[in-house]
Symmetry: C2
Subunit: 413 residues, 2 copies
């Protein structure tokens, strides 16, 4: 195995809905930020991995998105690999930047994710979600949903509510169906989901870069409108824009550029799909990550998991093995996953409230955990911050998520 790999710089721009911003200027801002964070210059970066999922769809910029965006950001003349893996695109970029150092191709690489998903054209936003599935199959699924709605209207019963944040109802339906089976199988409750959403909303009131910074009580979350039962709007990640980045380096590079705020990557795992329905991609990825890091669950101090909805956090905590099946909501209700709990989860506010600009989200998780490990998280700083873990899921095809990444990080300073 090659060199140990370190994250020496992280950057993130304020997440939100920015009709007036474009990929190029967001790229420049996050590039300036990540370099400032570690006092390096553009000349120090030897190669880059660029993540984005909507630029092609919205503006026909496919093929060399990273080169176009980075050139506009003043970074040129280096190898760029453009990667996509739906909601796990940005962490896939980090995995690429990490593995190239493992392979001893470079000493200092950049992973950057930039996303502009907010758009006044609702059809495009819907297409951006469909693109994270098999679009042929999704078209059929959407037809079935529309037919059910039509039937409900004909019978005079209430049609399922559509998400007014931009139409990503198909994915929300998918999570809602999971939540309903979970409630049936384990007696978990809608209130548990609301506790998770309220926790994440409240965490992000202390995160100045979050998309949402207003508090939400459990009651407020429960009383928000239903996107797809049992999920209310406040339990679902919003649509948004943003950028996040990390600079990764080898042991040699770190020796030449000593940095007490460096964070070591103990494991970087990318997993995919499922060969069978009974195979759980998250369990598989977690096992691999823990094995590579030679660590167990008790070693993890703080986490960012893929709460595309509050049920995503329930499901992640169980599949990652942090609690028995059925108890993902229970541990939240007990306060274990709160900022001052046993194992704080989503201190940034998570996808639900920090925001989820698809191609940037996985690196926003990294930004948060590096900030936590450094002890620089201000009001939302967790107490124990030696080892941290991310869980980032992307798309769906066949029997499970299409892509799954897990990173385990360790404080060095």
């Amino acid at each position: 195995m090659g060199s140990d790999v370190y994250i020496i710089g992280v950057g993130m721009i304020k997440f939100g809905k920015f009709l007036e911003r474009g990929i190029k200027d967001m790229t420049k801002e996050v590039l300036d930020g990540v370099l400032r964070d570690c006092s390096l210059t553009r000349d120090d970066i030897e190669a880059a991995w660029f993540s984005n999922t909507t630029w092609g769809l919205y503006s026909f910029q496919h093929s060399i998105r990273g080169q176009v965006a980075l050139t506009a950001g003043g970074l040129q003349g280096i190898p760029v690999t453009n990667v996509e893996n739906a909601c796990a695109s940005a962490s896939t970029a980090l995995h690429g930047a990490w593995s190239a150092i493992k392979a001893e191709l470079y000493d200092c690489t950049l992973a950057v994710g930039v996303e502009k998903q907010h758009n006044e054209d609702r059809v495009k936003v819907m297409q951006s979600f469909s693109a994270a599935t098999d679009v042929e199959e999704m078209a059929q699924r959407m037809s079935r949903i529309r037919m059910e709605e039509q039937k409900a209207r004909e019978k005079g019963t209430k049609a399922p509510r559509q998400d007014e944040q931009g139409g990503h109802s198909a994915f929300m339906d998918f999570y809602a169906a999971g939540a309903r089976s979970h409630m049936k199988a384990y007696g978990s409750t809608q209130r548990q989901l609301a506790v998770i959403a309220a926790k994440n909303h409240n965490n992000s009131t202390m995160n100045p870069l979050a998309q949402y910074t207003f508090p939400q009580t459990v009651e407020q979350v429960l009383n928000d409108y239903v996107v797809s039962y049992p999920l209310t709007r406040a339990m679902c990640a919003p649509i948004g824009d943003g950028a996040a980045a990390a600079i990764v380096c080898s042991e040699d590079f770190l020796k030449k550029h000593p940095n007490s705020r460096a964070v070591k990557i103990l494991a970087s795992v990318l997993e995919g799909g499922s060969r069978t329905g009974s195979d759980n991609i998250v369990e598989r990825a977690a096992k691999k990550a823990f094995d590579k890091a030679s660590l167990g669950h008790n070693d993890i101090d703080v986490m960012e998991v893929h709460d595309a909805t509050a049920f995503g956090e329930v499901s992640a905590m169980e599949s990652l093995g942090f609690c028995p099946r059925g108890e993902g909501g229970v541990i939240a209700e007990k306060g274990d996953t709160a900022l001052d709990g046993k194992i704080p989860v989503n201190p940034s506010g998570g996808l639900i409230s920090r925001g989820h600009p698809i191609g940037a989200s996985g690196l926003a998780q990294i930004y948060e955990l590096v900030t936590q490990l450094r002890g620089e998280a201000g009001q939302r700083q967790v107490k124990r911050h030696h080892i941290a873990m991310t869980h980032n899921a992307g798309g769906t095809v066949g029997a499970g998520e299409a892509a799954m990444t897990i990173h385990i990080l360790e404080k060095t300073g």
Copy 2:
């Protein structure tokens, strides 16, 4: 440095224009082919890199193209990285599959490129080319070209001809401008370009998987219609569909699955852009590749270079250092680059005649050279076939190509 890396299997489907085919069925066919080539099964593949540039643009399938296509092809449950680098996308996928083995993450990986660029909607085809540039800048460039045409019409002079193969005139204009400067600076001729095009067309008459399999004389090439002077249609790569793949493995894996047809990857280099106008990305990439392989120009027996136009081959041979500046056409006229010449170039027929389905093209080069190194190229087999080199360029932004890959391969059996 990690393990040596070998290509043990290659696959390619017949290139052409297939309105009736889709990405999914082409993926399945090339997957069956590459596995059959090395007597492995889908279960042997631990991770995949998937290359495509138009599926999102034509059919809204972004984000997880590889997972969707490979699942349809019967391959699931493995990590997939979706990569794009314009015309160098497929070789970027190979570079990813190679580097992950170098990093000792896997022992057996797949690189696959599948493209469906042919489309009855000319606007989409045009957009697919624009996407390989900065689309904002390209829109401005196209406006200027249209204005020049308008002026020419007003003056009663002849407007530049547009490419009837699908409208990739902007890129052809770019190559044509390069060719005209070259003619002015070095006294190179349109006939030299025709010699290259005729050579490549004739080579592909012996390649049953090529898009074009009809011969072209130098006179025929010169008399074909002018796309953008001095380039005639027969000097330009066509639009098309196709798929190509390679299975790559570690030394350990090769020991467990002995294979006398394995080919060793001596160098896999990805380069990007240019920081300045005087910096030549091809020279830079070539130097790196020769250094890594510890070889010189005289060691290379056979090449596939990026002849998006015949001038591309001229320019590549000079920048790669196989002849002095200005003599890229001269060596072709002398017959040096012919199938029985000193250094056969584009025995497959090259992009010009084997075809150039963008996201598959770089792996088609690999398919050809592995076939040549194995001595399995039939009628088009070159005599010396110990070491081979590919050159694959992608997109343009700023002062040079956006992406450039070079692979040097060595026969083992």
